[in-house]
């Protein structure tokens, strides 16, 4: 076979590879299915849902997380500051794991224009338990602590293992106190949004008192609750590590 023919065949082969790569890169699934749950990637955040409903269980985003350094607190990525997000890091595993094999882990990342890159690994560690690991692949400053935030369902109540329900001063209403009373829960009004130290487990209840999820406070410095945004923040020392984790049980 002449060199010309070999070169021609090589070009044809490369075209074929190009076609496959093009399709793989364009592949953006609506959701990644893990057991009875799905992880739905978005441009600004990702959410964990049940497979059989459109109900969002939690939403997680770098726009809600916090970095703590030199007495400063700020979001790792602020609005209009990011250049890529919502994708799974490896296109080939994205496709192969998308449906064909029973996957247990998906990754989502966001990278800002100022050089911060955070990867979120969402791993199904038991049939109803997820571990979410934030890995800070690139940061500009030496980070002391991280606020791992989750947005919980609207209208859900934040309670603990001691049958207390938490409200914040500025949004407290008589109706909420009445709801707490009807559900046999002791209302505790937070003046500075920070939950007491003796909370071991946070239990999220819907209005019908059905538990939606449980979050452990173990290993975190403090937990705060921003009722306006239904945001729970778990502040965690980072130390010399580059990643932190939290576990959510559904």
């Amino acid at each position: 076979m002449s060199l010309k023919k070999v070169l021609y065949l090589t070009v044809l082969f490369l075209i074929s590879l190009g076609i496959i790569s093009f399709s793989l890169f364009r592949y953006k699934p609506f959701a990644y299915y893990i057991g009875n749950f799905s992880v739905q990637p978005g441009a600004y955040s990702f959410s964990i849902n049940r497979n059989d409903s459109s109900e969002q269980l939690v939403r997680i985003s770098p726009f809600d997380d916090y970095f703590y350094w030199n007495n400063t607190k700020d979001h790792p990525i602020s609005s209009a500051d990011f250049k890529s997000s919502g994708d799974i890091t490896n296109v080939f595993s994205k496709f192969l794991n998308g449906r064909l094999i029973n996957r247990t882990r998906v990754s989502w990342f966001m990278e800002s224009n100022n050089g911060t890159r955070i990867k979120y690994d969402i791993e199904n560690i038991s049939p109803s338990e997820f571990e979410i690991t934030r890995t800070f692949e690139k940061t500009n400053d030496k980070i002391d602590a991280v606020g791992q935030s989750v947005i919980i369902c609207p209208d859900c109540l934040v309670t603990d293992n001691k049958s207390r329900v938490f409200f914040t001063t500025e949004l407290l209403t008589a109706e909420k106190l009445e709801t707490a009373n009807q559900m046999n829960l002791s209302p505790l009004v937070l003046s500075n949004n920070i939950l007491p130290n003796d909370v071991e487990k946070i239990v999220i209840l819907d209005k019908n008192k059905n538990p939606k999820m449980t979050l452990s406070t173990q290993g975190h410095i403090e937990v705060s609750f921003d009722e306006k945004w239904q945001l729970l923040e778990f502040k965690t020392w980072l130390g010399n590590q580059s990643s932190v984790s939290q576990t959510i049980s559904f």
Binding site: L9, I20, R26, Y27, P29, Y33, S53, R99
Partner: protein
């Protein structure tokens, strides 16, 4: 399941046997048989109501009997018939078709339907056709579907397709969902066979024909077109059109000079087949007629001399038409959802990228190769591919549907391009490269199917319908008289339940705007009395005055109520997959259940059904 498999095969075989009494070519005999069955059932339904089942048995009996008598006669006439039929030469094409059948079996059941068990469906459009077919099977008849159900607000076809479905339902006493699970496989296989035979008749090369069959199975137009994986009137018409075109190509190869009278009578099967195509789908049928006429016009010497110039002219027209998409589309129908089907260049490019990946680049060597060749038929097919593609890509809403027919011609040019790119290499190198190309198409197909199916995942099944919806339908059918009951819910639930339970709904997925407004008025803030009033004010053309009114509060219903008002008023938005009832929806259900006018008659975690007393 086995009955459905057999019934699905008979959907094609019985009309074929009937038509075979009159004509030999498969396309003509099938089309003629379809038309005979349709006209017989339509006319008998009008003049002798209640005769539907008897006419079917009569037609089946005559067709099968005459088929066997013909075989016996042929064997008596020609003692060597069986020897010829099983000779090595005559088995070549069937053996390639068998090979393609094996391929189609794997690509269909192990890729497309891997997570869609019997009798679940992946085709949203079939429910409206099943609804009409159920009505016809119950003894009603009409030339146009909108006279039978308000699920049809627009008559794009006659009831020919639905009568053919109803015939199988009646003959095998089967449920059309299970039947559909199988019949779509036969349709898929036939689209592959059609592409194979078309390429075989054009290029006379098995290598290209096999490639054409495989590529046809792997290119799935996952929006608006749905050629190979959905069996709906538009896709069946296009498939029939390709088989008709193949017969026309074959008849052109017969150069014997025939007397005028023979020429006229020879055109009768073609004319009948084109009428069948038109009855199956007015628009695509018209496109089939135009394509056949264009092929015959191109056969005139004045055109055959200039086929290269004509092809180049249409290449420029196609490019010009595509550039018109920059300026947005025009709606000729006045339908509410038409705007969503005015795609524009970017969306069209995205759709074609989903369907083909970048494999369309093989069109370039395909066009060049055909222009350089001396094969007149391939040049004519190229011109037809360019014309039909131009029409499909014209900036008008819904015109992309023409691609249902065009895809067969475009794919033929594309496949020739793959062959042409490696034509100068030795056979092993050529085969190796063509195998690699098939792998590329396979990868594109996998990704395309995943993209289409991803959002339909529900309780480990990928489908528009759930087990519980099927159970609910069976229960409703068993406990309520379909002639005296009206189901009201969101458009998606109505659409699914009307087809599977056979009980009437106000418009199914095509619920009228006034009726939608009545549903939109129902919210958490209003009393059960007002909810009852709104539900009772929902109008339906086919509702009887004393009909039982059933309100289905399903997971889909609550998901639909959470859409914006403009989305709820649009035909374009539906809740495509099943949903469970959320905890947040329970208070609404509790309030209704406490009211004496609402009686819970059935419930599971996907729907609570109330009868309004």
């Amino acid at each position: 399941m086995i009955t459905d498999l057999f019934a699905a095969a008979c959907f094609y075989i019985l009309p074929l046997l009937t038509g075979r009494i009159f004509f030999k070519p498969i396309a003509y005999s099938f089309a003629t048989g379809m038309l005979i069955w349709y006209l017989a059932l339509l006319i008998s339904g009008i003049y002798f109501p209640g005769s539907f089942d008897n006419v079917i048995i009569l037609l089946t009996g005559i067709s099968v009997l005459l088929f066997f008598l013909r075989i016996i006669r042929d064997i008596i006439k020609d003692r060597n018939l069986l020897t010829h039929a099983f000779s090595l030469n005559s088995l070549i094409t069937p053996s390639f078709i068998l090979l393609l059948t094996v391929f189609s079996f794997f690509s269909y059941f192990f890729v497309w339907k891997l997570f869609t068990p019997y009798p679940m469906q992946l085709n949203w459009d079939i429910y409206e056709h099943i609804t009409v077919a159920n009505i016809i099977a119950s003894g009603q008849t009409s030339f146009l579907p909108s006279f039978l159900t308000d699920t049809f607000t627009f008559n794009g076809y006659t009831t020919l397709f639905h009568t053919a479905l109803a015939a199988q339902k009646s003959l095998f006493q089967t449920d059309l969902l299970g039947f559909y699970w199988w019949v779509e496989y036969w349709h898929y296989l036939l689209t592959i066979v059609a592409s194979f035979l078309l390429a075989k008749n054009i290029f006379k090369k098995t290598e290209i024909s096999l490639l054409a069959g495989v590529v046809s199975g792997l290119v799935y137009e996952s929006s608006m077109v749905y050629s190979n994986l959905f069996l709906i009137p538009q896709t069946m018409t296009a498939l029939l059109g390709i088989f008709i075109l193949r017969e026309v190509i074959i008849s052109k190869e017969d150069h014997t000079d025939k007397p005028f009278f023979k020429k006229i009578t020879g055109a009768i099967p073609l004319i009948i087949s084109l009428i069948t195509a038109l009855f199956l789908h007015f628009v695509i049928g018209f496109a089939v007629i135009c394509t056949v006429i264009a092929f015959k016009i191109l056969d005139k010497e004045i055109f055959t001399k200039h086929l290269n110039k004509i092809s180049l002219f249409f290449v420029f027209i196609l490019i010009g038409t595509l550039s018109l998409q920059f300026f947005g589309g025009i709606d000729l129908t006045g339908r509410e959802e038409a705007n969503y089907f005015n795609l524009g260049l970017v969306k069209i490019a995205a759709l074609f990228s989903d369907w083909y990946g970048l494999t369309l680049i093989f069109l370039v060597p395909g066009i060049i190769g055909i222009l350089k060749s001396h094969n007149i038929t391939s040049k004519k097919i190229l011109v037809l591919a360019l014309i039909t593609a131009t029409v499909s890509l014209a900036p008008f809403a819904y015109f992309l549907k023409y691609y249902t027919l065009s895809r067969y011609l475009v794919n033929t040019v594309l496949v020739f391009g793959i062959f042409y790119a490696v034509r100068n290499f030795s056979v092993p190198v050529r085969y190796l490269y063509e195998t690699l190309t098939v792998l590329v198409f396979t990868a594109v197909f996998f990704i395309n199917v995943n993209t289409y199916q991803n959002f339909l995942f529900f309780s480990n099944v990928i489908s528009h319908i759930s087990d519980k919806e099927l159970d609910t339908s069976k229960w409703l059918r068993a406990n309520y008289n379909k002639d005296n009951t009206l189901i009201v819910s969101d458009p998606g639930t109505q659409y699914i339940l009307e087809a599977s339970s056979e009980i009437n709904t106000p418009g199914g997925a095509y619920m009228s705007l006034p009726n939608r407004n009545k549903l939109i008025n129902i919210n958490d803030g209003i009393s059960p009395e007002i909810i009852e009033l709104n539900l009772k004010e929902i109008k339906d053309r086919f509702k009887k005055d004393n009909a039982h009114l059933i309100f289905v509060a399903s997971g889909r219903y609550f998901a639909w109520q959470k859409l914006t008002d403009s989305e709820k008023k649009s035909f374009y938005f539906n809740i495509w997959s099943p949903r469970v009832i959320e905890q947040t929806d329970v208070p609404f259900l509790t309030r209704l259940a406490a009211d004496s006018s609402f009686k819970i008659i059935y419930q599971n975690n996907e729907m609570v059904i109330f009868e309004i007393l």
